[in-house]
């Protein structure tokens, strides 16, 4: 077929195919992630989870979609109509855009940007704007509180997240997601960055910050239902609410996918096809996110900030130096031991420094 068509048609065709694939993959992923999440959390809490609509509840996401579409769309009278209307649309756009640079398999990147990683980080941080728009446009105190929290949290966690990626860029010397995956191809496709001391630490930090970035439990302060109703999407109903939900789930998918790309070797892996490796790694990370949600209670705001600024940030800075040392040191066991030693020592030290003063026994001034 290629011979019959002029070049520009071919370009348009490949663009259209990529767009269609992503526009289809995003929502479908999101729909089935909701089902997965409900099933897994249910089983962690000794429940069965949805199992009525279709076999094993497989049609549940469709039923939810129909429900969301047919619900009344309520706009509060004092709300800013434009901001209120635009926010749910704007929040989905970055969530879909970042799919473009994710390498789903060997040669399966929609756009192989040479600044792919930068693109990802830049685009995904615009989510904050949409969230703040939603909270400001709703004219509701709970929304605004949620939006404020969201901005504070995103700004704080953006910093260690970006810094934890720096070692990877340092070692591979490239910002392209494809090159980063290719750099992890040694040892029969198992030379993943997570198997190095700095990679392990950077992975943990990146993943934690990623969980915080997409507002998932235990970092779900912007939508803490026990404190501020539903946070920034308190005043949304019907399909607009569903769009927020969709963005959140697509974000958790893309963050897991990026973590897999940067540290778990992306689509690299022996024997199995590349895309299968990629999806396996991504879904393991998503499962861990859901597992977090099934286990951990929510942070307090001050704990959240302490973790980001006083613990993760210094650790990432030290990690960058360790990665630099790794880059220049000769490839021997000494290099591994030294970097592991430095990192565990700094981890231990930061932990000691972060420990607040806790008296053995509470002393009451007026109680006794």
């Amino acid at each position: 077929m290629a011979g019959f068509l002029p070049d520009w048609v071919l370009v348009i065709k490949s663009v259209l195919i990529s767009i269609a694939a992503i526009a289809f993959l995003g929502p479908v992923t999101m729909m089935y992630l909701t089902l997965l999440e409900r099933k897994v959390v249910g089983r962690m809490q000794n429940r069965i989870g949805p199992n009525r609509v279709g076999k094993w509840g497989l049609l549940q996401p469709l039923a939810d979609g129909v429900k969301m579409l047919t619900k009344e769309d309520i706009v509060p009278t004092p709300a800013d109509p434009i901001a209120h209307f635009l926010a749910p649309i704007l929040i989905v756009v970055p969530a879909l855009l970042v799919f473009a640079v994710i390498p789903f398999g060997r040669g399966m990147t929609a756009v192989d940007l040479n600044v792919g990683l930068l693109f990802f980080i830049a685009i995904s941080s615009t989510t904050t704007l949409a969230i703040f728009m939603a909270s400001w446009g709703s004219r509701n105190k709970f929304s605004l509180l949620g939006g404020m929290r969201s901005v504070a949290q995103m700004v704080s966690y953006e910093v260690p997240m970006v810094l934890s990626v720096v070692p990877v860029i340092l070692i591979t010397g490239s910002l392209s997601t494809n090159d980063i995956v290719l750099a992890q191809g040694g040892w029969g496709g198992l030379k993943w960055f997570i198997f190095t001391p700095w990679g392990l630490l950077a992975f943990i930090i990146f993943y934690l910050c990623g969980v915080a970035e997409c507002n998932r439990s235990p970092f779900d302060l912007p939508e803490a239902e026990s404190e501020i109703v539903a946070g920034f999407h308190t005043e949304y109903s019907g399909m607009k609410f569903a769009l927020f939900y969709m963005a959140e789930f697509m974000n958790s998918f893309t963050i897991s996918a990026l973590a897999a790309t940067l540290f778990l070797g992306g689509w690299q892996g022996p024997v199995l096809p590349s895309w299968l490796w990629f999806f396996m790694k991504t879904y393991v990370l998503i499962f861990i996110m859901i597992w977090f949600r099934g286990t951990l209670p929510r942070f307090r705001v001050d704990q959240l900030m302490n973790l980001a600024w006083k613990f993760l940030l210094p650790l990432t800075l030290i990690n960058i130096f360790v990665a630099g040392f790794w880059y220049f040191a000769p490839n021997t066991i000494v290099r591994v031991l030294m970097s592991a030693g430095v990192l565990s020592l700094s981890f231990w030290g930061l932990q000691k420094l972060n420990q607040g003063y806790a008296p053995e026994k509470r002393v009451y001034q007026f109680g006794d």
């Binding site: 089983r43 962690m44 069965i48 597992w291 099934g294 286990t295 951990l296």
Partner: protein, 195 residues
């Protein structure tokens, strides 16, 4: 103590629950949900839900005598009784109307406790949801009737005890009647008065 050990401990707890839900039975930490419409738990004998009127053998033979005690005792006053009369206008020992409004009844079982004639009992039926609260939820006399066999089936212990007591009372009454008949036949020879 290292940062995160508590978190790992907690995560292991949930992981254990997650795995147990697939591989363990309901009494070993697995899922103990009984999926209701298809499967259901065995009913407990003393379970109580909405009253019914009891009849012996045939539905005409209902035990209720329309004494109105249960209607007076019912806390939310959801029982409505009108006594039946025969053609000459004499009151009969049965209700012409016996209505219970199930939208109001709170399943307290006080009617059962109060009834001196063992005529009203609490049922096991609970799937009585309906779309119409004006007509479907107001149960009339004939809707409420259920046989003694049914009562024996759902609550064998209570029914057995009550049946035994009633039989005993019946026999005593019969014996007393026989005594009275005997006494009547032997009337002509009164005992000599003591001095």
């Amino acid at each position: 103590m290292i940062f995160g050990t508590g978190i790992i401990k907690g995560m292991l707890v949930t992981l254990k629950a997650f795995l147990a839900s697939y591989f363990k039975g309901p009494h070993e930490g697995g899922i103990f949900t009984v999926e209701y419409p298809e499967k259901r738990l065995a009913e407990k004998e003393r379970f109580r839900n909405f009253p019914f009127l009891l009849y012996d053998q045939t539905p005409e033979n209902l035990r209720c005598v329309a004494c109105d005690i249960c209607a007076k005792e019912c806390p939310p006053k959801c029982i409505y009784i009108v006594r039946d009369f025969d053609k000459e206008g004499r009151p009969l020992k049965r209700p012409a109307i016996f209505d219970i409004d199930f939208t109001v009844c709170m399943n307290c079982g006080i009617c059962e406790e109060a009834c001196p004639f063992d005529a009203i009992f609490m049922d096991h039926e609970f799937e009585i949801a309906g779309p119409d609260r004006q007509n479907k939820m107001l149960y009339h006399r004939d809707d409420l009737l259920k046989s003694n066999e049914y009562f024996n089936k759902i609550r064998p212990t209570d029914a057995g005890a009550i049946d035994a007591r009633r039989r005993e009372a019946e026999e005593k009454k019969k014996a007393a009647a026989a005594q009275a008949v005997k006494a009547k036949t032997t009337q002509p020879q009164p005992e000599p008065p003591k001095t």
